[in-house]
């Protein structure tokens, strides 16, 4: 395609593909433990890091990684203690993070508005060769950790108490997930921006789990969908001249919607076919509904907790 004759488009494509591959590999663990939105929270905190970096005239990516990691570890420690006040603490952390970020970026100087937009909504096309290397190396680290430690991370996210009784280093691995989340958020902010970071981690997983049966296959399919959405989004954005990060996310969500409709239709057809088969074989098998409704009312209170 003609848009890829520009070097910055090639760089954008490579960055997007790498992030599209790595983000769902981490995201699946977050989804499994029902923390799909944690990426957004960490992203808010990362913005403060960006502000600090711009203010000190240092690489905002580095300060963002540090701020995000501190935030993610704090959230994990709150989760571990299982405090009811954790919810409120998270809210404070999120809003503190984004307010601090906006304030610091504003202090940083003239071009701050353009900068702020770039971090909030992504700017892959402005990525330099150095930026690209940082993205590729960090993504490779995330990917390696998530794939190598899959059995242990699966066990922890699936049943944390069991993992504890198995003698797994639960806390260390939880902190690893937290720090990895911070790293992924920071590299993904170049692609889709901090406000859309969670989308790349979560949406491909949500799409994949509609059609898969196991954890490993969900992970593989989610990574394929993430990569395809990222690549397709860069191409579409370049061709149609739309915002790149938003286009990537819209594509990922479109894939989710298409899969949901497809899987729903498939299930409906199968159930119809199954019901028809049952009817043909034993038309009397289906109990009159009154009988079914009658009994559970008496039985439910008798169940041992």
């Amino acid at each position: 395609m003609s848009i890829f004759q520009y070097e910055f488009m090639i760089r954008a494509l490579i960055g997007a593909l790498v992030i599209g591959l790595a983000a769902p590999a981490l995201g699946i663990y977050l989804v499994q433990r029902r923390m799909s939105l944690i990426g957004d929270g960490v992203g808010h905190v990362a913005l403060t890091g960006v502000g600090v970096g711009l203010l000190l005239d240092r690489s905002p990516v580095l300060t963002a990684v540090i701020a995000a990691a501190v935030g993610a570890v704090a959230i994990e420690l709150l989760r571990e203690r299982g405090r009811t006040s954790g919810d409120m603490a998270l809210a404070l952390l999120f809003y503190g993070g984004i307010a601090g970020g906006v304030m610091l970026v504003g202090l940083a100087g003239d071009r701050s508005n353009a900068n702020l937009m770039a971090y909030l909504f992504g700017s892959l096309t402005t990525a330099s060769v150095e930026d690209l290397w940082v993205i590729v190396v960090l993504a490779a680290v995330v990917l390696t950790a998530m794939l190598l430690l899959r059995p242990a991370l699966f066990a922890i996210c699936h049943d944390e108490e069991y993992a504890r009784v198995s003698g797994l280093p639960v806390r260390t691995l939880n902190l690893l997930i937290a720090v990895t989340t911070a790293v992924t958020v920071t590299i993904a902010m170049r692609a889709v921006g901090l406000l859309l970071v969670s989308a790349l981690m979560v949406v491909p997983v949500a799409t994949a789990q509609q059609i898969t049966r196991g954890f490993r296959s969900t992970m593989a399919v989610a990574m394929i969908i993430g990569t395809a959405s990222a690549g397709g989004g860069v191409w579409l954005a370049g061709t149609a001249d739309t915002a790149m990060g938003a286009t990537i996310v819209i594509l990922a969500i479109a894939a989710f919607a298409a899969t949901a409709v497809g899987a729903g239709t498939w299930r409906l057809l199968r159930r119809r076919a199954g019901m028809l088969a049952v009817h043909r074989r034993q038309p009397r098998e289906v109990e009159p509904p009154e009988v079914v409704l009658d009994r559970p009312a008496e039985m439910v209170p008798e169940r041992p907790a």
Partner: protein, 255 residues
Amino acid sequence: MFVTTSVVQVSRGAVGYDNRTVLRSVDLTVTSGEVVALLGANGSGKSTLIRAALGLVPLRGGSVHLFGVPAGRFRQWHRIGYVPQRLGAGSGVPATVGEVVASGRLARRGVLRPPGAADRTAVAAALTAVGLADRARDPVATLSGGQQQRTLIARALAGEPELLVLDEPTAGVDAASQEAFARALGAFVAGNGTVLLVAHELGPLQPLIDRAVVLHHGEVVHDGPVPAPAGHHADPGHDHVHPHAAVEPSRMWSA
């Protein structure tokens, strides 16, 4: 310190949440090869006792020894197979029965080593032991409650433990699964395994039990032979031990 054959030893164990006392000064000893049932009404503290023994609930007082080692210094977790009451709240990310059972090998294998032939053999053997060999590739969420419970037992068995700790393994489980479970447990006991289980009703497990410990309001009120099923005991915990066994034919209503 001298060497004992005690596998689980709770001495004067006390547990409480905020200002509610759940266990007060409980003693429990399970020696190697024994099959001990913890009985008691809901809220008697029986689940809390095994969770405290496994370090999942902090002790307020007293001590726990596992295989003769103080719990704080115990590291040989592969010797213990834990079967929780039910699978944690499903998250939506599918997992196959085989994947869940394979988690049981982690205690033995460690975090970094990839699964090998021995792991696959053990997983297959555990699935066969609970009668789920043909469901290995099915998503856990599609199984009945009883089959999910058997999946958790297979996960514990896959680690080839010496001690099985089970929290209400038969609660709300259909008859077929109860029998499959009793067979698996029988095979484990025949291989010199030690068992500590919490139960509401013993059902088909009754013949396997060597000793029953009955808890009532956080205290041990009976430690000895399994109390007879008839309700004529003076034992205060007793009338809750065998509740409505016949009323729960399946998970049809609750699944």
